[in-house]
Amino acid sequence: MTSFDAAALSDAFVTSALAVFSLALVVLAPAAALSRTRTRTAPLSVPVPALEGPRDAPALRSAPTHGSTRLAGAGQAGVVLGTILVCLAVVARGVAAGRAPWGNMYEFGLTGSAAVAVAFLIYSRRRPVGGLAPWTVALVLVLLGVSVTSLYTPVDDLVPVLNSRWLVVHVAAAIAAGALFTVGALATVAQLVRQRRGGNDQEDHFGALAHTVHLVAFPIWTFAVIAGAVWAENAWGRYWGWDPKETWAFITWVFYAAHLHALSTVGWRRRAGLLAIAGFLAFLFNFFGVNLWIPGLHSYAGV
C-alpha cells in the first residue's frame, strides 16, 4: 500500500466513523429518553455498556420497554462500530505518515477521539452508566468534526524538533490521560446533575465511574508532564520554562490534585466534582486555546 493510499483510507475511515457515530446518536438519544420516562435501573445484561441510566424516578421496578432496549442495543452496536472505524483511521494515518499519528493538532484530535471512545467502552463495561453513551458519542462527534473541518492537515513529515522518541511517549500519555479526563468529566457532570435532582447516594454509579477514571488518569497525566519535562530538557536545555503549554498542563494537574484531596474531605463531594470539571476545562483550554491563540514553544498545531 502506498502512503498516499493509506492517507486517503484514513480520511475515508474518519468519514465513515462520523456517519456511524451520528446514526448511533440518533438512535441512542431517544433510547435514553424512553428509558428515562419508563423505568428505574436494572443493569442490562448486555456485556458492553448497559444503555440504561440509573434514574431516580418512581420506584416502579419494571424492566425497560422492549423498544427502548432494542434501540439501545442498536445504538450500542453503532458506538462499537464507530470506535473500530476511528481506530482504523488512526492506524491508517500512522501508516501513511510512517510515524506515531500524533504530530500535529489534527492528528491529536483524531487519535484523541478514538481514545475517548475506547476509554468509554472500556470503563462503562458492567456499569449501569449507559445514560452517558449519547453524551459521549456527541462529544466524540464534536471533537472529530472539529478536527476534520478546522484542524485538518495532509500527512507530512515532522519539523526537526518534534523528531524524537519522546514525541511518542509524551503525547501518547497526554492523549490517554485526556481521553480519561473526558470520560471522567462527563461522568462528573452526570453525577452533579443527579445530585441536584436529589439522587440516591447509595447508587452513585456516575460518581464511581468518575472516581475510577480519575484515579487512572491522574498518574498518566503526571507521567505526561514529567516526560514532557525530560524532553524539554533534551530539546531546549531546561526542563521547565513556564511556556504557556507547560503552564496549563501544570494548572490542569493542580486542579485534579485539588479534586483528589477534596474527595477525601468530608462534605466536599460536590466541590470535588467542580474541581475535576475545572481541571478538564484547563485541559481543553490547553489543547484549543494555547495551540491556537497563544504563541509559545509548543506551536506545532500546523493549522
Partner: protein, 491 residues
C-alpha cells in the same frame, strides 16, 4: 486538607496570568514584554508593579507555593510518625460483629483440619502481615499505599531542592557560531549569559567548541514547502579530559560534564571583503546576518571604521533564494541557498564606535552617518551574487561577495539541580501510583465456638477490597457456606 485544597486552587489561578501576559525570561520571544509595553503604555507600568510580567518569580506566587509546601509538610510529618507506629503494631483484632464488614461469609471448614493455620499460611504467601491467635487470624496488606502517599508528598520537597539548585547555581547562555570558528567557554565569549545568583561564571567548564559544518534541509514540495526537515551541526570539541567530534541536532545536544550545547537556530553569514580607497583590505570574512522571516531573508551590517579615505558602513539584506517580488523588490522564496544574493547600501561618517557606548554588531548608529549616493544623487544600491565585486562611488573602495557560510545558534545550559529534580520526579511518579492504585485492607478469619468459620475484610482507603480476594481465601481454606448467609462481595 481544606487549607491544602484552597491553596491548590489559588496556585492554579495565580499561574494563569503568566500564560496570558508576556513573561520576561520565557524563551519564545525575548522582545514580547517590550512590545506589550509599546502597545499598552499606560497599563504596563501597573502590571509591572504587580510583577505580572514575571509571575513565576513574583512574591505573591512564591507565597502561595511556599504556604502550600509548609501546609503539606505540617500534614506529612505527623503522618510519617503515625505510619511508623502502624508499621510496628500488629494488625488489630477483628471487630465483634464481623458480619458488618465487607464480603463477610460464614461456613464450615470441615474439609480442612486447621482452617486458621491454613488461612495464615495462605495470607502470608500473599504478602499480608499476619498475626494469629488461638481463635482468629488478623491480616493487613497495602501499606505501600501510605508509603507511596508519603513518598509523593516528600518528593515535592525534593523537587523544590532540585529546582533551587538550578535557579541558584545554574546558568544559561547563547552564542552564535559561524562555520569554522571556535568558541571558548568563558563568560566573555557569550552573546548573552544569564547566570543564577550563585553561579560561578569564572569557573565554567574549560572547553572549546568549533563549528565545522552546518547542514539544513527543507521541504521542497507540497503544502509545507520550505518547512525545515533536518538540521545538523557538526562540531569538534576539546575539553580538559576529552575531545572529539559530535553532530548536534535538535533533541541531541552536546553534553560535556553537564554543560550542554543545544542547537536552537541557524542562519547565513555572507563572506564580504571590503577594500578601501587605497586598495587595502579593511574588512573580510563572514558576517552574521540575522534571519527575519521563514524564507531566511536576513539583515546584517558590516562596520569598517578603519577604511581610508573615510570610515565605511554597509547595510545589507541577504536573500538565500532571491526572486523578483511583486513590487520589483528582491525577496527570498526558499530558506535554502538556491540563488543567493546580497543587496547592499553604504554609509560614510562617524560610526560612533569610539564614544564609549555599547553598540549592537547587528545595527548601525545612523546619528553621524551619511548615505553614499551614486552619480545621479540617488542612494547607492547594489545586488551581488557570489564571486562578484562592485566599486563604491567617489573612490571609497570596493566590496566583494566571496561566498557564503552558515552560522548556528547554540543555547548553552548548565543546571546542577536537574538530577535531583529527576530523582524527585521518579519518586513522585512511583509514590503517586502506589498511593492511588494500591488498596490497603484488613482481612480477618475467625473460628467460632460452634465450629463455623467467618471471613471478612475491610478497606482502609477509598479503593475497594480487590474483588475475589476473599473468595479465593475461602476456597483455599475449604470454607463451605453453612447457613446461606453469604454476603455479596463488594466489587
Amino acid at each position: 486538607m481544606r487549607t491544602a485544597i484552597v491553596l491548590l486552587v489559588l496556585l492554579a489561578l495565580t499561574a494563569v496570568p503568566g500564560s496570558l501576559l508576556p513573561q520576561r525570561g520565557v524563551a519564545s520571544d525575548p522582545a514580547a514584554v517590550a512590545n506589550f509595553y509599546r502597545q499598552h503604555p499606560d497599563l504596563s507600568p501597573w502590571l509591572d508593579r504587580l510583577s505580572l510580567f514575571n509571575v513565576y518569580s513574583a512574591p505573591w506566587f512564591a507565597a502561595v507555593y511556599v504556604l502550600l509546601l509548609v501546609s503539606m509538610t505540617g500534614c506529612v510529618v505527623p503522618r510519617c510518625a503515625q505510619l511508623w507506629r502502624d508499621f510496628r503494631a500488629a494488625p488489630p483484632p477483628a471487630p465483634r460483629r464481623l458480619s458488618r464488614e465487607t464480603g463477610h461469609r460464614r461456613g464450615d471448614a470441615a474439609a480442612t483440619t486447621d482452617p486458621l493455620n491454613a488461612a495464615a499460611a495462605y495470607l502470608r504467601a500473599r504478602r499480608f502481615r499476619v498475626t494469629s491467635t488461638g481463635h482468629e487470624v488478623r491480616a493487613e496488606k497495602g501499606r505501600s499505599r501510605e508509603l507511596g502517599n508519603l513518598a509523593f508528598h516528600l518528593s515535592l520537597l525534593v523537587l523544590l531542592f532540585g529546582v533551587a539548585g538550578g535557579k541558584l547555581f545554574g546558568y544559561e547562555g547563547r552564542v552564535a557560531l559561524v562555520e569554522g570558528t571556535t568558541f571558548a567557554n568563558v563568560a566573555s565569549s557569550y552573546d548573552a549569559l544569564t547566570p543564577a545568583p550563585w553561579a560561578d561564571v569564572n569557573g565554567l567548564e574549560p572547553l572549546e567548541v568549533t563549528l565545522d559544518d552546518f547542514e539544513a534541509e527543507f521541504e521542497t514540495e507540497g503544502a509545507r514547502f520550505g518547512e525545515p526537515r533536518s538540521f545538523e551541526a557538526a562540531v569538534s570539541y576539546e575539553g580538559d579530559e576529552e575531545n572529539g567530534t559530535f553532530t548536534v541536532r535538535p533533541n541531541r545536544p552536546l553534553d560535556i560534564n553537564g554543560t550542554k550545547f543545544f542547537l536552537t537556530g541557524h542562519g547565513y553569514a555572507p563572506e564580504l571583503t571590503v577594500r578601501d580607497g587605497n586598495g587595502d583590505v579593511a574588512a573580510s570574512g563572514p558576517t552574521i546576518f540575522l534571519p527575519v522571516d521563514q524564507a531566511f531573508t536576513s539583515d546584517g551590517v558590516v562596520k569598517v571604521p578603519d577604511a581610508r579615505p573615510a570610515p565605511l558602513a554597509l547595510q545589507g539584506l541577504f536573500l538565500p533564494t532571491a526572486v523578483e517580488g511583486p513590487d520589483g523588490m528582491g525577496v527570498s522564496a526558499f530558506p535554502d541557498q538556491v540563488n543567493p544574493i546580497v543587496q547592499l547600501m553604504a554609509f560614510t561618517g562617524d560610526l560612533g564606535l569610539d564614544d564609549g557606548t555599547t553598540q549592537s554588531v547587528y545595527e548601525l548608529d545612523f546619528t553621524d552617518l551619511e548615505q553614499v549616493r551614486d552619480g545621479e544623487g540617488k542612494p547607492w544600491r547594489v545586488r551581488l551574487a557570489p564571486g562578484e565585486t562592485v566599486r563604491l562611488p567617489d573612490g571609497l573602495g570596493s566590496v566583494t561577495f566571496d561566498g557564503l557560510s552558515r552560522f548556528a545558534n547554540f543555547q548553552v545550559a548548565r543546571d546542577p539541580g536537574k538530577e535531583v529534580s529527576l530523582v524527585a520526579a521518579i519518586l513522585l511518579m512511583l509514590g503517586l501510583t502506589a498511593s492511588l492504585a494500591v488498596p490497603r485492607r484488613r482481612i480477618w478469619v475467625r473460628r467460632n465456638d460452634d465450629g463455623t468459620v467467618e471471613v471478612a475484610a475491610r478497606s482502609l482507603s477509598r479503593r475497594p477490597v480487590p474483588p475475589g480476594e476473599l473468595h479465593a481465601l475461602a476456597s483455599a481454606i475449604g470454607l463451605s457456606p453453612a447457613d446461606g448467609r453469604q454476603h455479596k462481595e463488594e466489587e
